[in-house]
């Protein structure tokens, strides 16, 4: 009873707002909403979404963004963690700079990327200075581009420290004893990393990657700033459908939201599987 009362306020908020929001979205995606007179659920929104070429292009683009960003960030984060875990002069300052962008919102990073990589951005200007290009349009399209390079660069920038900090903490609690033993038994540096350290940090890497994948798949403002108009990332497309003057497009927006939710449910499954007893600390 006491436990129930302790949990009641928090669970009410999460159940009402989070699961309520999901449930209403699900109902509306089936055109089912008795309160406003919609009493015959149907699949028309899903039929419309799944027969629309733009949806597939958008889904594939979003998957590409999330997958590529997550893989590149994870690999570079492991490298960064290996680099930063040993002690060296000035380590405190380097660590601080490494963590600096953790509290800088994605939106600011996206605008920074825009100013760095657009065709009149800092890198285009450097290229002009060095005589590699003469006018902005000579510079390759790295933002608003079909391969979402600008978006991926932004995520890689933001997620290296995020995954890196988790791996560093992981490495600290594992210690270096296992590696010393492997080395003294004649394992090479690479073998020690591949067969001793990597398997030990892998669950941590995976649970961080799952969070990154889910976030990058569902984020709105970054592709809205750096992405091409067509195909747009799925969250951008869903928002456009939802705010369309044609209210009939709303169930389609809800159906897209449900697609994103289902994908994140798969991510939660992996997260719970690989992050052992995380909640209990």
């Amino acid at each position: 009873m006491k436990i129930f009362l302790l949990l009641l306020p928090a669970m009410s908020i999460i159940v009402l707002l989070f699961f309520g929001g999901l449930l209403i979205g699900l109902m509306r995606s089936f055109n089912y909403m008795p309160v406003i007179g919609l009493t015959d659920p149907d699949f028309s929104a899903y039929v419309a979404v799944f027969t629309d070429r733009e949806f597939y292009l958008s889904f594939m683009l979003t998957f590409h963004i999330a997958f590529t960003s997550t893989v590149i960030s994870s690999i570079l984060a492991i490298g960064a963690a290996l680099l930063l875990r040993r002690s060296f002069a000035g380590r405190a300052i380097v660590n601080f700079l490494f963590q600096l962008n953790l509290t800088v919102p994605h939106l600011v990073g996206a605008i920074g990327m825009l100013y760095l990589f657009s065709q009149s951005g800092s890198f285009a200007r450097l290229a002009a200075e060095w005589g590699m290009i003469t006018k902005p349009s000579d510079f390759p399209a790295l933002v608003f581009d079909p391969y979402a390079i600008g978006i991926i660069l932004q995520y890689v920038w933001k997620e290296i420290p995020f995954i890196g900090v988790i791996i560093l903490a992981n490495m600290q609690s594992i210690g270096e004893d296992y590696e010393s033993v492997a080395r003294s038994l004649g394992a090479s540096k690479w073998q020690t990393f591949r067969y001793v350290l990597l398997p030990l940090i892998f669950p941590g890497v995976l649970s961080a990657s799952v969070m990154v994948f889910a976030f990058t798949f569902g984020a709105y403002e970054i592709p809205a700033i750096l992405g091409a108009n067509f195909p747009a990332a799925l969250p951008v497309l869903a928002y456009r459908k939802y705010t369309d003057v044609d209210l009939a497009a709303r169930p389609e927006a809800m159906a897209m939201a449900i697609v994103i939710a289902i994908l994140s449910a798969v991510m939660i499954y992996f997260y719970v599987r690989y992050s052992r007893r995380r909640v209990r600390g």
């Binding site: 999901l22 680099l83 963590q99 600096l100 800088v104 969070m211 939710a261």
Partner: protein
């Protein structure tokens, strides 16, 4: 330890420099733009510098300061509510075993992974009938979805290492329930409340799509203002607002760098910022 070869060492230092440069790089053009007066291709640096963007940002007409206070107010409210509701829940999860605990944990974990866009469309269509759309209160409520789970996770970690025997002793010595909480429990869990509260604040501070939809363009927090200026091509003002916007996060990082080590269960909160 054996001496490291010079080549390996230089490689290490070089990659370290590249890494750190890359991590700071996007903030540099933003900072320069805020002091630039026209900065045209192909100038590497602005030809003329100016404080115009900053003067505009701090003027009464721009609305930046109003927006700053509004954002601070919303984030503080979301943080306080998260603390009030999250501390008891963290106590239940950290100190007790009960039936259905895993399901409860899963339900608290879910909002940290499911993106806001997936739930906010449904909330928006319910908030219409409740009159909560386009209100500050509605925005604060939806901000609880991403902030509350981190508060609960941090507090669950704190209470897992908490010894309730001190409370029992205080009670047996005649302290009231309130006095016991105030003088015994609260000081013991304060570090968790501070760390969890800072996370909650920053997570609320960085929300975009939740505010955009539920605020309906009427509740203009700093990220919304920043987005509008960025997409309308006012790079100098965007730079100034961007610098103002990242300041709290950097101050918090400086103050808490030691406590925010990855071992804290809340470090996942950074993934939402």
């Amino acid at each position: 330890m054996h001496q490291e070869p010079v080549l390996t060492r230089s490689f290490r230092v070089l990659t370290g420099i590249v890494l750190i440069t890359w991590l700071i790089l996007p903030l540099i053009p933003l900072a320069i733009w805020s002091f630039a007066k026209g900065w045209f291709f192909p100038d590497i640096l602005p030809k003329t510098w100016s404080l115009r963007a900053w003067e505009y940002a701090f003027s009464d007409t721009s609305g930046v300061i109003d927006s700053l206070w509004l954002t601070i107010g919303i984030s503080l409210a979301a943080t306080v509510l998260s603390i009030l509701v999250g501390v008891p829940a963290g106590r239940a999860l950290g100190m007790y075993k009960f039936r259905g605990k895993e399901a409860v944990e899963l339900m608290i974990l879910a909002p940290t992974i499911v993106p806001g866009i997936a739930v906010v469309l449904g909330i928006h269509s319910v908030f219409i009938s409740m009159g909560l759309n386009n209100t500050v209160f509605g925005v604060i409520l939806v901000h609880l979805i991403p902030t509350l789970p981190y508060m609960v996770l941090v507090m669950a970690g704190i209470f897992a290492n908490y010894d309730p025997a001190f409370e029992a002793q205080a009670r047996s010595l005649g302290a009231s329930a309130f006095k016991t909480f105030w003088y015994v429990t609260l000081p013991a869990i304060m570090p968790g409340i501070i760390v969890g509260g800072l996370f909650a604040f920053l997570v609320s501070w960085s929300q975009y799509i939740l505010t955009l939809l539920i605020g309906g363009g009427r509740v203009v927090t700093l990220p919304l203002l920043l987005f509008n200026f960025a997409t309308s091509g006012r790079n100098d003002i965007t730079g100034a607002i961007g610098m103002i916007y990242i300041l709290p996060g950097i101050i918090i990082l400086i103050l808490t760098a030691k406590h925010l080590s990855g071992r804290s269960g809340a470090v996942g909160g950074f993934g939402q910022i």
